[in-house]
Symmetry: C2
Subunit: 264 residues, 2 copies
């Protein structure tokens, strides 16, 4: 019976990570992706060794500030779309079949990128997070993000699609988050970042009675943990890294299933 | 006076990281490189922001096992040289000017790679470590590494060149290290890795009276810290990441010097 099935891929497929937004978050995304691949291999019964990981390339390229660009849509050097597309094109030329964007705010250009590279699967972080929350029955969450992310409404829309209510911080709390992201993590001051992120998380928990918060900017998990926040924290980078690992091993899953069928 | 000097680079130069050996170590190398860049910018007085980092690409490609290949030099699919060269060629095509190899044992093919890509600066991890130890006056160190690394004698030669004495573990201790690397980190069992690495570190400290150990395999720092080892630990990935950051900002350093001269 197995002989009539199409030949499954012998290797996981090649994937890419578009990073540099910021670079510390891009590096952390690779770590999360490698860990997710290890778990995927264990789940699929593939012996874990260096050569069993998917080939993956990380592009850490200088991309203009995403939140600033969303506030000023005049074309020019400050727009992220073109450098994001250039780096993506180079990943596609290398042979990448699926890609994750290691920046929440940059998902404002997800549709444009996906349209420009139809042969590439560009994963969508917010949709992956919303689906994971709905699957776990977590139907009311707070959102910690950049001003740019709040303005695009990407998380709000993806969560609404899955029936998950999304609570936003007050304007002065959003300002605190921006300080933690820019004057904190992006400038290398992690103590400042931690204090700003923790203050907003605690305020949201006390005022709204929230038990789950989405860390909707890749810089936030680098300086916030559940002890400091006092709530469960959802790390979209982890959710997205797991989705990318699932894509990479999709063909191998078929192998495992075929072999299971053959054995049954 | 500044007008007669050649125009310095406005951006740090583009660099690459050859990883996948193993992938967790490659991801960790990027983290160390980003941290080293942050320190470099602070030292040079460059404001730290996403766009001020050097463009860098990480290639995590499947490379045959390095130690196994050193034990069997017959040509064929198990040899790392060709896949290492292919990934390096792709990094060069992307525009990378300097590259680090995120694997100690793979430095056995450093000379071959450097010869094949003369336009690329391929940094040499062991030489960077030896120079850093000599500069800090640490003239007698122990070496934790793979059997392949011991056999190539790369660390021993680089350390001897700098007048640093190198103490090796006994055969049964080397076997413990290989277990920690392969059955431990590369197979995702960090507890096993930690116990094997710590046992050898403690034995070396007690028998040889060593106060410094080189973690001469990229998997070792992922499961060993100074508390468990009871000695100072030298992380070659950190030394090499700092060397790569220095290369990336070499042109910017010139800018800072020129500006300092202009101000003086």
């Amino acid at each position: 019976m197995t002989a009539t099935l199409p030949l499954p891929a012998q290797r996981p497929c090649m994937v890419g990570i578009l990073g540099g937004m910021g670079p510390a978050a891009g590096a952390d995304f690779v770590r999360l992706f490698v860990e997710a691949c290890t778990r995927r291999m264990e789940a699929l019964g593939i012996p874990v060794r260096d050569q069993a990981y998917p080939e993956h390339w990380l592009a850490q390229v200088p991309i203009p500030d995403r939140t600033a660009a969303l506030g000023d849509r005049t074309p020019g050097a400050q727009q992220p779309a073109e450098p994001m597309a250039q780096a993506t094109g180079r990943l596609v030329a290398l042979g990448v079949q699926a890609m994750a964007i290691a920046c929440n705010t940059a998902h404002a250009w997800h549709g444009e990128l996906q349209q420009r590279f139809p042969q590439l699967k560009v994963l969508h972080g917010m949709r992956e997070v919303a689906a994971a929350l709905a699957a776990s029955g977590d139907l009311r969450v707070g959102l910690l993000a950049t001003q740019g992310s709040y303005d695009t409404g990407l998380y709000q829309a993806a969560l609404a699609d899955q029936g998950v209510a999304c609570v936003l911080p007050l304007p002065h709390e959003r300002e605190q988050l921006m300080q933690g992201i820019y004057a904190g993590v992006k400038a290398g001051d992690y103590a400042l970042a931690r204090s700003r992120f923790a203050a907003v998380a605690q305020a949201l928990r006390e005022r709204e009675g929230l038990s789950s918060l989405i860390m909707g900017c890749t810089e936030i998990p680098l300086a916030l943990d559940e002890t400091a926040a006092g709530t469960r924290l959802v790390n979209p980078s982890q959710v997205l890294a797991e989705a990318l690992a699932r894509h990479a091993y999709a063909g191998m899953q078929a192998v495992a299933k075929v072999e299971a069928m053959a054995c049954a």
